[in-house]
């Protein structure tokens, strides 16, 4: 098994897993506590429009997709920040329009269609070295922003109205969070594809939230859970020749089910002990 670690594509895949896990844990925690999961899903599917633009015009895919997704997420943020429009409707419109744009541009682009599947379901085993450096840069930026605005993010996550009375720029931080979600989503798409992005943004933070006593610890635990799912999922996918993205998410789902089952078992066990007394 250790032989595979000498292969460059596997080394890149492991590095990508570690770097993506950092954003999954940090940004995913903010997504979960602020109840923005559906919004993150909308951003992820909108990103496909950026992939289509990159392939159609022959531009670098990652940078073009980040740019397009950033613009789209800021558009969603503008429409939803004051809840002037129905949030779920706006997200649905962007979701569908982004996907449609990406598919149409793919149809019009000459060449192989393998890229279509790799962006839908992930292609962690084909991450080039240059993308690893880009992921590292994104990690540093996101980590820096969260450390700088941690107190403010915590305040608006817990009680937005009170934060507003303290002069915290709630709208500005909402836009910043949307931008961070956009960038994170593009990184995660590389691993598990846009169909399964929501899983990595929600399963690790949900598991972490059950044990963490603070948002900071939730982020840390979430990162660790994400690393665990990515590395174990990668190994299983390699051993059994499965799609790596789906296997990573499958690993997470199995762990979640086991933990929920264990908690339920403990609950039933303690209830029956009380009854017998």
């Amino acid at each position: 098994m250790l032989d595979i670690l000498s292969l460059e594509f596997m080394q890149n895949a492991i590095w990508a897993s570690l770097l993506v896990s950092l954003v999954c844990g940090i940004v995913g925690s903010l997504v979960v506590v602020n109840r923005m999961v559906f919004l993150a899903g909308g951003v992820a599917h909108t990103a496909y429009g950026g992939v289509g633009i990159a392939i159609f015009f022959g531009l670098p895919v990652m940078i073009t997709t980040i740019g397009f997704t950033l613009l789209a997420s800021l558009g969603i943020a503008t429409a939803t920040v004051n809840r002037k429009f129905k949030t779920d409707t706006v997200i649905g419109i962007f979701w569908a329009t982004g996907m449609a744009l990406g598919i149409i541009l793919m149809d019009l682009s000459p060449g192989y269609r393998v890229d279509l599947m790799s962006y839908l379901f992930g292609s962690i085993l084909s991450v080039p070295g240059i993308d690893i450096w880009l992921m590292l840069a994104v990690d540093i930026v996101i980590l820096g922003l969260v450390l700088l605005f941690y107190k403010n993010f915590l305040a608006i996550s817990f009680d937005q109205e009170f934060a507003r009375t303290r002069g915290v720029p709630v709208a500005g931080l909402y836009f910043l969070l949307m931008a961070m979600i956009a960038i994170s989503v593009v990184m995660i798409i590389r691993l598990v594809g846009l169909i399964l992005v929501i899983a990595l943004l929600t399963i690790p933070p949900y598991l972490a939230q059950r044990k963490a006593k603070s948002l900071g610890k939730m982020m840390l635990l979430s990162v660790l859970w994400s690393i665990f799912f990515c590395l174990v999922g990668l190994f299983i996918a390699y051993q059994f020749n499965l799609t790596s993205g789906a296997t990573i998410v499958g690993t997470g789902s199995v762990c979640l089910s086991l933990m929920l089952g264990w908690d339920q078992f403990k609950k039933i066990n303690s209830t029956s002990r009380v009854q017998y007394r």
Binding site: R35, K151, D159, E161, F162, T165, R166, V168, K213
Partner: protein, 258 residues
């Protein structure tokens, strides 16, 4: 009471009108609250109480008229105001300790970073001690009772040593026993703070208030803690003796108009 009226004016509203669209919420509201005054503003649901608070906090601007807090625009002095919201939209399921919640009262625009200084933590512990919740500082908020949670939110409002305390429906989530304990606590605070409480609950008047306001689009003010006939009619639209509330409610007789 004249001594109170001669003190520095903390809150000044002059001819304030506010509309949501074409719907008038506040009409020609005048109000002056002096330093050290403990005022309760009563009003029915939809009477404009929360709008009044948002104007005082600078979250809204009047369509006409003027709002001054400490003689300045409200937005410029938010750091001197402690606020207890109705906490309807608080997400209590996020992992956060009682201490962290109180420390949120020190968050301000322009203050960055992820850790709090020893001085900030000391302020937070002092605020928790004031509300007798220091031993719960490391607990999760969801493990506390309604009354205990309210004390934590009060500590959050007090942690920055504000000059003005504004409370929005502070007893809406507390049982009757807890309510009167809370009123006793407010009475003890009123010795050192200027306090404005808005509520629809007449029992707030047993909290040792100095003056009373009634708000139902228009505001009537009494420098004594008594409901005048006009105030009663503004609140309930009926004469006191025909209103079922006065026949059945546990309200102190001395505050009701004769």
């Amino acid at each position: 009471m004249s001594e109170m009226q001669n003190r520095e004016k903390i809150i000044q509203l002059q001819g304030v009108n506010f509309f949501y669209g074409n719907n008038p919420v506040l009409e020609g509201v005048d109000l002056e609250v002096s330093r050290g005054e403990f005022i309760a503003v009563l009003g029915p649901n939809g009477g404009g109480k929360t709008t009044l608070i948002k104007l005082i906090l600078g979250l809204l601007y009047p369509n006409s008229g003027k709002v001054s807090i400490f003689g300045r625009e409200p937005k410029r002095v938010v750091h001197r105001i402690g606020y207890l919201p109705q906490h309807i939209e608080i997400k209590e399921d996020i992992p956060v300790t009682v201490l962290e919640i109180v420390l949120m009262g020190l968050v301000r625009s322009g203050k960055f970073g992820w850790f709090y200084s020893n001085k900030d933590r000391e302020l937070a512990f002092n605020a928790l001690e004031k509300v007798e919740m220091k031993k719960y500082s490391n607990c999760n908020i969801t493990s506390l009772s309604g009354g205990q949670k309210q004390r934590v939110y009060i500590a959050r409002a007090l942690v920055s040593n504000p000059d003005l305390l504004v409370l929005d429906e502070p007893t809406s989530n507390i049982d009757p026993q807890g309510k009167f304990c809370f009123y006793e606590f407010l009475t003890s605070l009123s010795n050192s703070e200027t306090i404005l409480v808005v509520s629809h609950d007449l029992s707030i008047t047993s909290a040792g208030i100095d003056s009373l306001g009634c708000l139902n689009k228009k505001l009537l003010y009494n420098p004594e803690p008594k409901l005048t006939q006009e105030m009663f009619e503004l609140l309930y639209g009926v004469h006191r003796h025909t209103c079922p509330i006065t026949r059945h409610g546990p309200y102190p007789e001395f505050i009701l108009p004769t």
